[in-house]
Symmetry: D2
Subunit: 335 residues, 4 copies
C-alpha cells in the first residue's frame, strides 16, 4: 500500500485529536514527525516512535515528510503554509486560511504557484456524513435548485464562560464561527455573495457588547443569483452543541440535525420524552475530522484535487469581514 509520510504541527486539544487520527486511524498515513513549542504537548506523543520537533522550520527542512498537517494558532497559518509549500510539501491546514483578507489572498496565490502540491483547508463539516449526503441529494437535482439555506451554529451554554475570556481576541462571531456556515452555503449554492446584513447582542452577557461582540447574532445574506442565507450564530444553546442547517429546494427541504441527539436513546421519564444532545463539537464532528484527512490523503496519493481549497478560505473570509462590518455599522454591506 502506498503510504503518505506526514508531519504535524500543533498538538493542543484539536491538534492531538488530529495526530491520533493520523497515527492510528488512517492506514495510508505514516506519521513520522510532530512539532510543538509546548514541551508538554510533545510528551503526549513521545512513545509513538515519531520524530519530535520544537521548531517548525526545522521539521519542514529535516523530516522526511511528503505532507504537513497544520493545527497551530490561526495567526501562524499563512507563513507555515507558505513555508511548507516552498519546501515542496503537500499541506492540510486547519481553518482559517489567515486572519486578514490580505493573508488569505497571499496564501491562495502561493497555492496557485504550486499546482503540483495539494492544499486542503479544514472545513470539516463538508465531510460529515450527513452534510455530505445532503450535498449528494442537492446535486442529484431531484429536489430542484436550492434557493435558501437556514443555519444555526450555537455553542453549548455550558462553554460560554470559557468563551468570555477568549471573546476579545475572537474576531467576533462572524470570523470565529459563521465561516463554517458561509462555506456550507457557498458549497450548496455554488454561488458568490452580493450583500450582507447582521444584528445581534449580548443577551446573556451584555459585557460582550463592549468589544463589539455578541452572544447571539443573526445575518441575512443575499447571493448574486438572489439566493438567501439566513444565519444564527450563538454561544448559548441550553441543550448542547446545536449546529442545524436547512437547505430549501422547490421539491424538498433537507433539515440536518434539528435535534442533535448524542445517541439513539429516548428517555421516557417523569418530565416527558427526552433526547440528550451532543455536548460539544468534538462529539458532534469527530467523524468529519477523520474523514476530511482521509480525503486529503487520498487526493495526494491519487493525484486529485481536494474539494476544499485555498480559494474557499479567501471567499469565506471576505464574507465574514463583510458580516462584521454590517454588524458594527448596522447597515447593509455590499461585496
Amino acid at each position: 500500500m502506498a503510504k503518505l509520510k506526514a508531519g504535524i504541527v500543533g498538538l493542543g486539544r484539536l491538534g492531538y485529536t488530529h495526530a491520533q487520527d493520523l497515527m492510528f486511524k488512517i492506514p495510508e498515513v505514516d506519521l513520522v514527525a510532530a512539532c510543538s513549542v509546548v514541551p508538554e504537548e510533545l510528551d503526549r506523543v513521545k512513545d509513538w516512535g515519531v520524530e519530535l520537533f520544537s521548531d517548525y522550520s526545522t521539521m519542514i527542512k529535516e523530516a522526511p515528510i511528503d505532507a504537513v498537517f497544520i493545527i497551530s494558532p490561526s495567526a501562524l497559518h499563512p507563513e507555515q503554509i507558505i513555508e511548507a509549500l516552498n519546501a515542496g510539501k503537500h499541506v492540510f491546514s486547519e481553518k482559517p486560511l489567515g486572519t486578514t483578507l490580505e493573508d488569505c489572498i497571499k496564501v491562495e496565490e502561493e497555492c496557485n504557484k504550486h499546482p503540483e502540491l495539494k492544499f486542503q483547508l479544514g472545513f470539516m463539516r463538508r465531510f460529515d456524513p450527513s452534510y455530505e449526503e445532503a450535498k449528494a441529494k442537492v446535486d442529484s437535482g431531484k429536489f430542484g435548485k436550492p434557493f435558501m439555506i437556514k443555519t444555526t451554529s450555537n455553542d453549548p451554554l455550558e462553554t460560554i464562560e470559557g468563551f468570555l475570556k477568549f471573546a476579545p481576541q475572537s474576531g467576533g462571531p462572524w470570523l470565529d464561527m459563521s465561516v463554517h456556515d458561509v462555506d456550507l452555503a457557498m458549497w450548496y449554492f455554488d454561488e458568490e455573495v452580493e450583500s450582507v446584513y447582521a444584528i445581534g447582542g449580548g443577551f446573556l452577557h451584555p459585557e460582550l457588547e463592549e468589544f463589539g461582540c455578541a452572544d447571539n447574532a443573526c445575518a441575512l445574506i443575499k447571493f448574486k443569483n438572489g439566493n438567501i442565507a439566513q444565519m444564527h450564530v450563538g454561544y448559548s444553546a441550553p441543550n448542547g452543541y446545536q449546529v442545524e442547517t436547512e437547505i430549501m429546494m422547490p421539491e424538498g427541504n433537507l433539515r440536518i440535525s434539528a435535534v442533535p441527539a448524542k445517541d439513539r436513546i429516548e428517555i421516557y421519564g417523569r418530565e416527558g420524552v427526552l433526547v440528550e444532545c451532543d455536548p460539544s463539537w468534538p462529539a458532534r464532528f469527530s467523524e468529519a475530522f477523520l474523514r476530511e484527512k482521509q480525503h486529503f490523503v487520498n487526493c495526494v496519493l491519487n493525484d486529485e484535487t481536494p474539494s476544499v481549497g485555498a480559494a474557499d478560505g479567501t471567499r469565506t473570509t471576505k464574507v465574514a469581514l463583510a458580516l462584521t462590518e454590517a454588524f458594527e455599522s448596522g447597515e447593509v454591506v455590499k461585496l
Copy 2:
C-alpha cells in the same frame, strides 16, 4: 335540522364529560333528560334546562327521549341497556357491554331482537382521528394485509395510587384495560382469536399480586388466520398516558403515538430536547369521545348501523376472560 332527543344516565367524571358533549358540542342532539342516583351529580347540570331523574326506569318511561346514553357503573350496563331497548330507545353504552360473558351474550341477543333500534358500544379509540386514519390506510390495501399488531396501554404512573384502591374490583388488567386493544386488533385484522398467553407482575406494587392483579402484564394472542397481537398493559408509564400501537403490513408499518406529545412544543433545555406528554386519557382521547357520539347520532338520524355493536362487546370480553385465565394459570388458553 333533525334533532335527536336524548337522555343520559351516569354523571360521574366520564359521564359529565359525555353530558357536556351532548349538551354543547353536538348540534343534532337535544339533551332533555339526565339521571343519577347521586344528588351532587345532578346539581352540576341543574341549570341546563334538562329534566332530572334519580331513577333510571322513571326516566326511560317518562322522558320524551329517542335515545339514551349509559355511562353508569359497569355492572348496571346489561339491565339498563335491555330496559331501554324494550322501551324502544336507541342506546349508546359505555364499555363494557357486561362484566360476565353471559351478560354480554344476553345483551347482544336483546340487541338482535330490536333491529330497528341502534346500539353502539363505547370503543372510542376507533373514533380517534389517528386510529381512524390508520384504519383507512390499512383498508386501502396499499401496504398489504396486516399480520401483526403491537399494543401498549400504559396508564400514567402518577395515577397508580388511585388504581391500587380500585384494583381488587377491577377484574384485572385484561378486563379493565386490554379490551380496547383487543377490539382494535380485531377491527384492523377483521379476524377472531384462536389462543392467548399472558404473564405479568406487581413490579412496582407487589401487593397487587395478592388478588391476582399486576401493574404490568404482557400477552401474545394468536388469531385464527395466524396473525399475532403482542400486548402490553400497565399502570406505570413515567411519562404520562402511553397508548401506542403498531400495525404491521408487508409494505409498511403504522406506528401510532409512539411519543404521546401533549402539544406541538419541543423544549430545548439543559437536559436535552424534551417533549411533554398527555397526562391522562381524557387529554388524549377527548376528541374520540366526542366523535363516537357524533357517529351514533348520525347513525340514528340517518338509519345506519353503528360501526361498533354489541357483538364487539361479546367477542372482546371472551378474549379478555381467556387472557385472565391464561394469566392466572400460566398456560396457553385456546378459545
Copy 3:
C-alpha cells in the same frame, strides 16, 4: 346561562367556518343574524333559524344583537367595525384591522372612544394550544427573558397556483402573511420594533417579482431592547402547511411545530419513516379559530378586556409596511 346574541357578516370559506363555530360549538352564543351580499352564501345557513341580511347596515340597525363577527373582505373592515361600535355592538373582526395605517389608526381611535364595548382582532395563533402553552412557559420566567424568535410561515406548495392569481392584490408577503409572526414576536417579547430588513425572490415563480412580490422572503427585525426576530415567509412548503416558531431564552428554547404532523401516525415504509403533515391552515388552526371566539365571548359576558385589541392591529401593520419598504428598497428601515 347568560348568552350572547350575535350576528356575523361574511360567509365565505372562512366566514362559514366561523359561523358554524358560533352556531354549534360555543354554547354561550346565540347566533341570530347573518349577512352576506352573496345569495349563495346565505343559502348555506338558511335552515339554521337565523335572520338573514344582504345589507350590513340593516343588520346592525335591526337585528337584536349584542355583538357582530366581521369576516368580510379586508377593505371593508374599518367602516364595518366603526359602524358597529357606533351602534353599540361589541365587535370581533378578522385581521387585518385595515389595509392602510391611516385606517388602522382611525379604527383604533374609535375603539378607544367606546371603552364599554369589547373589540377583538383575529390573531388566532395566540389561541392555538401550543402557542398559548408557550406563552405560559415564557411568562413563567422559568427559562429567563426571551431574546430571539425564529419564525417560518410557509404555505403549502400545492396552493401556490391559487396564490399566483391573488398575488398582485395581496399586498406582498409582509402584509398578507407575516403579520401573524410579527404579532407573535411582539406578544412573546412585549416590546416594539426598532428597525427591519428584508430580502426575497420569486425562486419558483420569477413572475412574482414583476409586481414586487416573492414566493420566499426573509426578514431580520431588531426590537427596541435589542431583541431579534428572524422571519421566513413563503408560499412553497413541499410537505404541507409549515408554520414553525422558535422562542429563545437563556435557559431554554421552545420550538413549536417543527414537524407539522397531521396526526399521530408514523409510517415505516419503503422510503424510511414518514410523518404526514397538515395540508392547510384550516387543518392546522381549526382549534385556534374556535378558541379565539370563545375568548371574545367570555370577555363580553364577564366584562373583561380581550387579549388582542385594535392596537395590536395598528402596530403589526406598521411593521408590515416597514418590511414592505425594506424589501422594496433593499435598505434597513427604522420605525
Copy 4:
C-alpha cells in the same frame, strides 16, 4: 505501546470487515496471520503483509500469534476455539458459541480450564454506544430496577430473498436472530430465564412454515424474578434494519433506536417529513463491531476479563432452544 499479535480465520463478508478493523483501526493490534479455505478471500488481504494460511491448525501451530479471531462458519466455532485455547491462544469468537447446547457446554468448560486465557464471544450489541449508555443508565439505579424489556430485531425486507435460501439451514429465527436480544435482556436484567412461549408465521412467505421457520415471530419470556421480555424477530422491515429495544424501569423507560435513522437528515418533501433508515446491520453496528474487538484487546493487554464470556453463549443458546421448542409445540416451555 504493547501490541497484541493476532491471527484471523474466516475472511467472508463479516470476516473481512473484522480483518480491516484489526489491520487499520485498532492500534494495539498487529495482524500477522490470516486464514481461509477460500483462495479468493485470501487474495483480498495479500498486500497487507500478513502471513496467509489455508489451514487453521497450521496457523495456530506456526504463526507467532497471541490471539485468534474466529469468524468462520458457525459449525466450526467449537473445535476451532478449543484448538486455539489448547495452543495457549486468547480467543475472540463470533457468535454462536456452538450450534448445539452440548457444544456450547464443552466450549465453556474448556474456557474454564484456561483461566489464564481470555475468551470473548461476539455479542457486539453490548458495545454499541447507545446500548452501552443504556446499560450505564440502568446500572446507575436512577430509574429503579428494570422489570421489562421489549425488543424488535427485524431484518430489511429487501434482504428476505437472500434469507429464503438460507432459511432451511438457519436454525430458525430464535437461534439465528433472537440470541442477541436474549443476551441483551439477560445483560440488563442480570437474571436467568424461567419459561418461554413463542408464536409466528410465514406471513409474507408461507413456504417458510414448511421447514418450521417464520418470517415474523414473537415471544414472551418470563425470568426467574418475574421480569418479562417481549420479543419480535422478523425478516421483513419495510424501512430498513429495524433493531429497537425498550427497557422499562419504575422511573423511566429507555427506548433505543425507535427510528433507525441512517443519518441526521430529515427530508421535508411532497409526502411529508421523511427519515431514511439504516439499510443493514453493517451500517447500523459497524462501530459496535470495532469496539467489541477493542475491548477484547484491552482485556488481553491489561489482563482483565472480557465482559462477554462463554457462559453467555451457553445460556443464550439454552433460551434460544427453548424458544424453538415453544414455537414448534405451541406450548409454554420451562427451563
